[in-house]
């Protein structure tokens, strides 16, 4: 088979078509402290300056030879633009929303600020995508990211209050999600206009917090509508145990699901029945953060043997992950191919 460009490879994998080699692409983030030092683009500045953001994002290609670039490192850019109370942290910690100080009480408070797309913290991602597009041309896929309404709800209402509301007043919860999805569309469309080829939609209805039935009740229809509306492939990301909701996720029409290491690759493949591509699921806190390249490669093999279409860390990687372990992901795919072709 002829050698594909990175973009052809990723798009084929997203469509569950034949590839020259399985792509490696993290749709969340591969920002690390080592890379921040290497290109002099530390957190939190790299989350707030387009030039630094693009420089750090580019290391995914230049240093790790992954098949895509994902310039949105955290999950808080929209929330900052909405007006949430932010904690920007420092180089070795993720910026985060102070969810104990929620800004809104209920669905009636949900309003899109006039300057939402001009705000420094949304614009940085749009400008970074433009820089990366110019620098890397059209053969490397750029993965944007736009938060789903469930995750935004945690940020604007507070996790505890929001989850209690799902039982106390589910209609109000549905109304809030319906209104919050406007942010998902606005920021997603703006990233596509800026040059994003694919969008990740993190929407953390995780099995560690809520049941699979919750996904069906509150989110499946919203995600189906997103898959129909956006003109680029969507990758849904949900952390934690998700096998119980994967059959529903597979029905949404999204191109791919980025899954956590708490779900075995074979179980995940069985759950989705080839109706959606899977992206994942190298363990972060144990394997990538504290084990060695042999262990990383073993997990790459496990994913490939199960048929996972795109190999990736399970989520945004810990900031102090060693580069050698990230390089080992790509090497693991090469080793697997050599072994596979021999047989």
């Amino acid at each position: 088979m002829k050698t594909m460009t990175k973009k052809e490879r990723v798009f084929s994998a997203l469509n569950r078509q034949e590839v020259d080699r399985p792509p490696v692409a993290n749709p969340t983030s591969v920002a690390t402290v080592e890379m921040m030092d290497l290109v002099d683009a530390p957190f939190p500045e790299a989350c707030r300056s387009a030039e630094l953001n693009a420089r750090l994002a580019a290391t995914e290609i230049t240093e790790f030879d992954f098949d895509s670039i994902a310039p949105y490192f955290s999950i808080i850019q929209e929330s900052s633009a909405i007006g949430c109370d932010m904690q920007w942290e420092q180089k070795d910690n993720w910026p985060t929303v102070r969810m104990s100080n929620p800004i809104w009480q209920d669905a009636s408070d949900v309003k899109v600020p006039k300057d939402f797309l001009e705000h420094k913290d949304t614009k940085v991602i749009l400008d970074s995508i433009k820089i990366l597009r110019k620098e890397f041309g059209n053969d490397i896929p750029i993965i944007g990211k736009t938060m789903g309404p469930w995750t935004l709800a945690y940020h604007v209402f507070g996790v505890e209050k929001f989850l209690l509301g799902t039982i106390d007043n589910p209609s109000e919860t549905k109304l809030a999600l319906e209104k919050l999805k406007e942010f998902t569309y606005l920021f997603g469309e703006a990233q596509i206009d800026a040059g994003a080829d694919i969008l990740t939609v993190p929407d953390h209805a995780t099995g560690d917090l809520v049941s699979g039935q919750y996904y069906k009740t509150f989110l499946q229809d919203l995600h189906t509508e997103m898959a129909e509306s956006f003109k680029v492939p969507l990758i849904l990301h949900i952390c934690g145990q998700t096998v119980d909701r994967m059959p529903a996720i597979a029905e949404t029409g999204m191109h791919a699901f980025h899954f956590d290491s708490k779900n075995k690759p074979e179980d995940a493949m069985n759950a989705v029945q080839n109706k959606i591509s899977l992206v994942g699921n190298i363990n972060n806190p144990e394997t990538l953060y504290s084990k060695n390249t042999t262990e990383v490669k073993k997990e790459v093999f496990d994913c490939l043997n199960a048929g996972v279409q795109i190999i990736a860390p399970e989520c945004a990687i810990p900031l102090k992950t060693k580069s050698e372990n990230l390089i080992a992901i790509t090497e693991g795919v090469t080793d697997w191919l050599s072994e596979h072709n021999k047989n």
Binding site: Q87, E89, N93, W94, T96, V97, R98, M99, S100, V159, E160, L163, L164, T166, I167, D168, T206, G207, D208, L209, V210, S211, Y214, C239, G240, K262, N284, P285, E286, Y289, S290, E314, C315, A316, I317, P318, L319, K320
Partner: protein, 247 residues
């Protein structure tokens, strides 16, 4: 099985032999009123729990009896259902809210009674992590089980944990994390305690949705709780071990 039909149905979710005996024995000789409190708590019915707690106190039932035979029996079944993925965090939160509705009336009585606490625990969510649901559930369960708990809140640095240790002199420090990206800060806190010579002075316990026993062992923690209920059991075990050491 029990006098209260609804509670008997809830008890069917308890399937492990040891728990059937432990929780079943704890419920079987309790009054219908205590069983009604336990059932209302499982349902997350805070109004009923609050109202019945007041009524029981007015009837002269002791705060300890309401706590042990009503609230904690209900919470034990909630813990089992949560661990076995029968219910999830929203359902646990409404049960916790119901427990709080009862605790509001009995906590002042318990603290005035001068009973020695089971032990002292210092709790916090680790640096960079602002999630506190899991930590707060643990605190509530530990307090309900007789521990004195000091809460350092969220985003707690290793230095903050060490300062908290100096101030409160706890037997146990409990660290919580929800994010895989912040879990390594548990290891950093444990290392910090080594570096400043405090590691042998206190037992360090970890927990949180992404945390596993393997991770806890790698970080050098003394115990790992896989749920709020388990955290209480592990804390009790650590206190017993400490008692043996001190004796």
């Amino acid at each position: 099985m029990f006098e209260h039909e609804g509670l008997s149905k809830e008890f069917e979710f308890v399937t492990k032999k040891s728990e059937i005996k432990h929780i079943g024995d704890s419920i079987k000789n309790t009054s219908i009123k205590m069983q009604t409190i336990a059932f209302a708590l499982i349902q997350g019915d805070q109004d009923t729990v609050g109202q019945l707690t007041i009524e029981c106190l007015e009837e002269g039932i002791s705060a300890n009896e309401i706590l042990d035979n009503g609230l904690l029996n209900g919470m034990s079944i909630v813990g089992v259902k949560f661990r076995d993925n029968i219910i999830f965090v929203p359902e646990v939160l409404i049960a916790a809210r119901a427990m709080k509705a009862g605790m509001t009336h009995i906590e002042p009585i318990l603290s005035e009674s001068g009973i020695e606490p089971q032990g002292k625990v210092l709790m916090g969510t680790v640096k960079g992590d602002l999630h506190d649901i899991g930590k707060n559930l643990c605190i509530m369960m530990l307090r309900g089980s007789g521990f004195t708990v000091y809460d350092l809140g969220v985003d707690t640095s290793p230095e903050d944990f060490a300062d908290g240790f100096e101030e409160y002199q706890p037997d146990i420090i409990g660290m919580s994390a929800l994010l895989t990206t912040t879990m390594p800060n548990m290891g950093r806190t444990i290392q910090y305690f080594e570096d400043v010579g405090l590691r042998d002075e206190v037992r360090l316990m970890v927990g949180g949705a992404p945390v596993t026993q393997e991770f806890a062992d790698e970080m050098g923690a003394d115990a790992y709780g896989d749920s709020a209920i388990d955290a209480v059991d592990k804390a009790k075990e650590l206190i017993l071990l400490l008692k043996d050491l001190r004796d």
